[in-house]
């Protein structure tokens, strides 16, 4: 494989193609649009399905249909568009079909702006649509990681027959970095026993999210919750930096983690024993590891590009074991290491 200069959105698109993406349905929205445009160019040449739908609502329902037919399928959007998709995502979660969604997060609430934020954390990790479900949410911090997680997202979606969301901010979508994209692969098209391929010579299958009998819907929910427990056990991902001898820790994901790491290194140069903990899976959140960490260090600083969303999960994990401070930037403003270093110094006291 070669190391090439890739724009985040295009690296995600190419990685999805190499992962065997068969059908894409989406709708343009900045700062995600290059992803859709890349696939608009490539997919017809490859005899794969690309459709620009008339809206995000239409796009996610096309995704639902193609996934029910057994296709390896994805959509992508940015925050306001992902809000529009929530009804469809809830139906997809209930119907247990594998779907990959990319959210290149931008400023909100409302139409907001097109600058990078992490303010969709609540919506993405806590369900988003109605009913009891959580998608798997993976948060890359580099273009390389965005490509790798997208590639892997299809396997996870198919393993658990669930939604996997790659949650990157506009910064990762828009910036260019060297990356080595995963190799193209053939996908296994053997029948998996649930997809709708035409009931010739076999029992018919039904994919639905409608269960009028409460006892039936209870059973569906019990199954979904069981699957969620498995996901929580198997799919926690995080990365640790300079934490071995740390007395203090910063917790951040995505772009905020890259900024925080620079500040952590500056603090180290000043003799502060601080490290960085970076959740990669936002759902399942690494509660157990943060709980361990909270017993090991004296204080935590959470840095996010929002008003303090992951902060709530950190508090749940740490359970008042130690002081937790927060530094957040909102509205599409991005923190600088110069902003974070004083917060680290304040935490140390």
């Amino acid at each position: 494989m070669t190391r090439e200069l890739w724009k985040g959105n295009e690296a995600i698109a190419e990685s999805a193609l190499r992962a065997g993406l068969e059908a894409y349905f989406g709708y343009p929205i900045t700062p995600q649009t290059e992803l859709l445009e890349y696939l608009a160019r490539k997919m017809p040449e490859m005899k794969r399905v690309f459709i620009q739908a008339e809206s995000e609502v239409a796009a996610i329902n096309m995704v639902y249909g193609a996934a029910a037919g057994g296709a390896r399928v994805m959509s992508s959007s940015s925050s306001p568009g992902v809000s529009l998709m929530q009804e469809g995502l809830s139906y997809i979660a209930a119907s247990e079909v594998p779907v990959v969604l990319v959210d290149i997060m931008r400023g909100g609430p409302g139409l907001g702006n097109i600058a990078p934020t992490q303010a969709d954390y609540f919506q993405l990790t806590k369900g988003g649509g109605h009913g009891d479900y959580h998608p798997i949410v993976l948060a890359p911090a580099t273009v390389q990681e965005a490509a790798d997680l997208t590639y892997e997202a299809f396997d996870l979606a198919e393993k658990y027959r669930c939604i996997v969301i790659v949650a990157a901010d506009g910064n990762i979508g828009q910036m260019m970095e060297p990356a080595e994209l995963p190799a193209p692969r053939q996908i296994d098209k053997r029948d998996r026993g649930w997809e709708l391929t035409g009931a010739v010579g076999r029992e018919r299958r039904i994919i639905t999210s409608l269960y009028m009998q409460p006892e039936d819907l209870e059973q569906v929910n019990v199954r979904l919750q069981g699957k969620q427990k498995q996901i929580e056990q198997n799919e926690v991902r995080y990365q640790e930096y300079l934490l071995d001898d740390a007395e203090y820790a910063v917790i951040a994901f995505g772009t905020a983690a890259r900024v925080a790491l620079t500040a952590v290194k500056w603090a180290r140069a000043k003799g502060i024993r601080v490290g960085l903990f970076r959740p990669i899976s936002l759902f399942p959140f690494p509660y157990a590891r943060v709980a361990e960490l909270s017993k090991k260090v004296r204080a935590l600083l959470v840095v996010e590009m929002n008003a303090g969303q992951m902060l709530e999960d950190v508090r749940l994990a740490a359970r008042d074991a130690l002081p937790i401070s927060f530094f957040g930037k909102m509205g599409g403003t991005v923190p600088f290491p110069d902003d974070v270093l004083p917060e680290i110094e304040k935490m140390v006291g």
Partner: protein, 140 residues
């Protein structure tokens, strides 16, 4: 009054242009690099014709801004639509064909000509519904 920009292409803040509801068949955009394929992306919407069929529609017209005469007609139509609303006389729509030289990759004059020669024949100008009750409100 309904004010909605039914763009021919979407103008993104980074100067990209994508298929929109009124993109002409075959028109090339960054999300339809081979031209709008009506089989995949559907036909353009004729909003004025559609909404003129709805119960409650009182003043439904299409105008263009490709020359001073048509700009004046557009102004009059907007005024009429607002009058209909002030009199609570029903639903109004003024659909306006407009140009976007930057994102069409044209000079200002070329984009005016494109409006006149390509857009107007596909989206005919005219009055699609003017209810009897609102006729007295409209200045010719």
């Amino acid at each position: 009054m309904l004010a909605k920009n039914m763009q021919v292409v979407y103008k993104m803040p980074d100067a990209l242009t994508d298929v929109a509801p009124t993109t002409l068949p075959g028109m090339t955009t960054t999300s339809s690099p081979r031209g709008r394929d009506v089989e995949l992306q559907g036909f353009p919407l004729h909003m004025a014709e559609m909404l003129a069929q709805m119960p409650g529609a009182s003043y439904i017209v299409r105008r263009s801004v490709h020359d001073p005469g048509h700009i004046n007609q557009t102004r009059k139509a907007i005024k009429a639509a607002l009058k209909v609303q002030l009199n609570q006389a029903g639903f109004s729509l003024v659909e306006i064909l407009s140009n976007c030289p930057t994102n069409w990759g044209m000079s200002a004059m070329e984009s005016m000509n494109f409006l006149k020669e390509q857009m107007v024949p596909f989206y005919p100008l005219g009055d699609y519904r003017i209810a009897d009750a609102v006729k007295s409100l409209i200045v010719k």
